[in-house]
């Protein structure tokens, strides 16, 4: 038994690696997003701090650390203090089972993806605590919206994961990656779309960012936060984006697999690629209204997820050993038909309520 086989050394080493990875990548993501958004909006983005503005996230971090910590006088002080912690810790815990390389993860749980789904739901509680304890009507509206949105989008998310699990035959993250001789995005195109849209809603990004809609409810549930607590919420947003990118990479894009380059580098490239899609969508589309968001989840995504699950189950049962390319083509065709059909049948209308 080498030193590294000792469980606690392995644990400590990976804790350090994960913390370093998360913090560095989050800073990188903040920079990529601001610069990328700037270029997409025909402007430059940050370019003063450091060459090409690379040190901008560092400047941001220093700024929030030295700001005054304001606590609302009539707010619930304990809940106010706990809310960022409750929101941040579960997101960090997700990274325990994300495989950077074959065998290189903190804990190779054989229920990996189930653990992720369970833990990530706790962040919703933190958001609601923040909205309630601020003693502010705007943040209360935002918190209510957020809880409704998070709950509604959990279900299609989980159902699309089950499709992947059926094909891979295991809940463990490493086994899912190893089972991807061709990336599951081709075998499960509908599942990928549902998971992608659900992930956007889970991490409160455009077009589902009505929780922190700047133009309506002025920063939403973190209106009253400043200083380090606000930095925690800001971190939560980007950590969740990083976590979702990592999960999408693992489940659908083949994790660390790829020719030529070392596997860890392939993982990074895929994560950054998925994040690029995230902020590209943010720069492009307007946001939806809360009742439209919920209607979309329940009337559009849920039935599609159920149909996807049904078809996947039939395929695994009947064509278990068939050529994968047949399944790919059939699935792509089914996805195209279903998406077109649902977009024709489903109207995102609003409606006036008789008062």
């Amino acid at each position: 038994m080498t030193l590294f086989d000792n469980y606690w050394i392995h644990f400590a080493l990976f804790v350090v690696i994960i913390l370093a990875f998360v913090l560095t990548m989050v800073m990188g993501f903040i920079y990529i997003e601001r610069r990328g958004l700037g270029r997409l909006q025909v402007r430059l983005g940050p370019n003063r701090v450091g060459p090409f503005g690379v040190l901008q996230p560092v400047a941001d971090a220093i700024k929030v650390l030295i700001k005054e910590d304001i606590i609302p006088a009539k707010g619930d002080k304990l809940v106010f203090w706990l809310a960022p912690v409750v929101a941040f810790v579960p997101v960090l815990m997700i990274f325990a089972v994300v495989p950077f390389q074959s065998g290189a993860l903190l804990a190779d749980l054989n229920i990996g993806i189930l653990y992720i789904v369970a833990v990530s739901s706790v962040a919703a509680v933190g958001v609601f605590m923040a909205g309630w304890s601020s003693n502010n009507k705007y943040s209360l509206i935002a918190a209510m919206r957020d809880v409704a949105q998070l709950l509604s989008y959990e279900i299609p998310l989980v159902l699309s994961i089950v499709g992947v699990v059926l094909i891979a035959g295991s809940l463990s993250m490493t086994k899912i990656v190893e089972a991807q001789s061709i990336p599951f995005i081709l075998l499960q195109p509908l599942g990928f779309l549902i998971f992608f849209v659900g992930a956007l809603a889970e991490i409160n990004r455009a077009p589902f960012d009505l929780v922190e809609a700047d133009s309506e409810i002025v920063a939403g549930f973190h209106i009253e936060y400043s200083g380090m607590k606000f930095a925690m919420f800001y971190l939560v947003e980007y950590c969740e984006a990083l976590a979702m990118s990592a999960i999408i990479t693992t489940l659908f894009l083949g994790g660390w697999k790829g020719p030529l380059l070392p596997p860890f580098l392939w993982f990074l490239i895929k994560v950054v690629g998925v994040f690029f899609l995230f902020f590209w969508i943010r720069a492009t589309v307007p946001r939806l209204r809360i009742d439209q968001v919920l209607a979309f989840a329940w009337k559009c995504l849920l039935p599609l997820a159920l149909i996807n699950l049904l078809i996947t189950a039939i395929q695994v049962l009947v064509w278990g050993e068939a050529l994968p390319w047949v399944i790919v083509l059939v699935n792509l065709a089914i996805m195209a038909v279903l998406v077109v059909l649902w977009s024709k049948l489903f109207r995102l209308g609003g409606g006036r309520v008789a008062v």
Binding site: L210, I290, L348
Partner: protein
Amino acid sequence: MAIKTEPFVLNVGPQHPSTHGVFRMRMTLDGEVVVDMEPVFGYLHRSIEKLAEGRTYTQNIPFTDRLDYLASMSNNLAYVLAVEKLAGVPVPERAEYLRVIMAELQRIASHLIGVGAFLNDCGAFMTPILYMMREREKILDLFEMVSGQRLTYNYMRVGGVSQDIPEEFLPALAKFVKVMPGFIDEYDQLLAENEIVLARAKGVGILPKELAINISASGPVLRGSGVKWDIRKADPYSVYDRFEFDIPTGSVGDCYDRYRVKVQEMRQSVRIIKQAMEQLPSGEVLTEVPLRMRPPEGEAYGHIEAPKGELGFYLVSDNSETPYRFHIRASCLINLTALSDMMIGWKVADAIITFGSIDICMGEVDR
């Protein structure tokens, strides 16, 4: 069994990222639905009407700049038209054409901000408004060439315009007019049939046609509701009767119609500018009037089709250097009359979008 709910009062207060200036709405909400709305004005009241009674007619022109500060050229034009009507001052041909060019350029600039701010309220995170700012910068450069200013131009004078255009103006204008339709197509490509914009704006904040006429709405608000009434065609001022252009109208009167009317008006403005450039004669640009002019006793009401609606000035003169009464018919204030009708029954997000689609500027509302 219905759940018991309790309405609460939310103050969309004077300081808010999307109230287009300092404007306060006291909304009573039942969950997300707006049950009652009361607008509160006066945060930008500068008593321009009273101040103008102490200054000469020419000294009042900079005051008009600061009414709707996003459309200064149009404000200037409305005021000098009213004074010219009152005093009977003729305007040279070249000045009339220059006035039309400036007014139409100003209409494009104002609509760019109006449409951009509306889409910003929809949530498109600054991308459309930044693209439109890029075009507005070109217009502001043109205005800087003629008047030296970027926002409050003070360009028109009683009897013409203050100075002639420099020689680099017309080539720059020709270049702008050539590329602008392409840019409007670029905006339309991503936004006109966008599923989310349609879902947010279609059928939302409807102003029926009869109500629009009854509340004396004007500008894109009136035309969006289906009334084909444009002062440039109904009561042509300056040389507008020499140009060919259409009046875009909506059909339903929802936010989407008002947004489309503004985009199409931008295209028509480019058309007018092209024709004005071709017909531009040479000559004087200003009829000399005394610095402290004394119009004969009487009154006059001069109005124009400003970008945001019908802007009118009612002037009463008592044969002295300063006006006896200086009243501004503020289109933005009157357009807001039916605001609570358009918001009640809708959700908070819709209320914000409806307010953004009316496109007001608080400088004109409060004066």
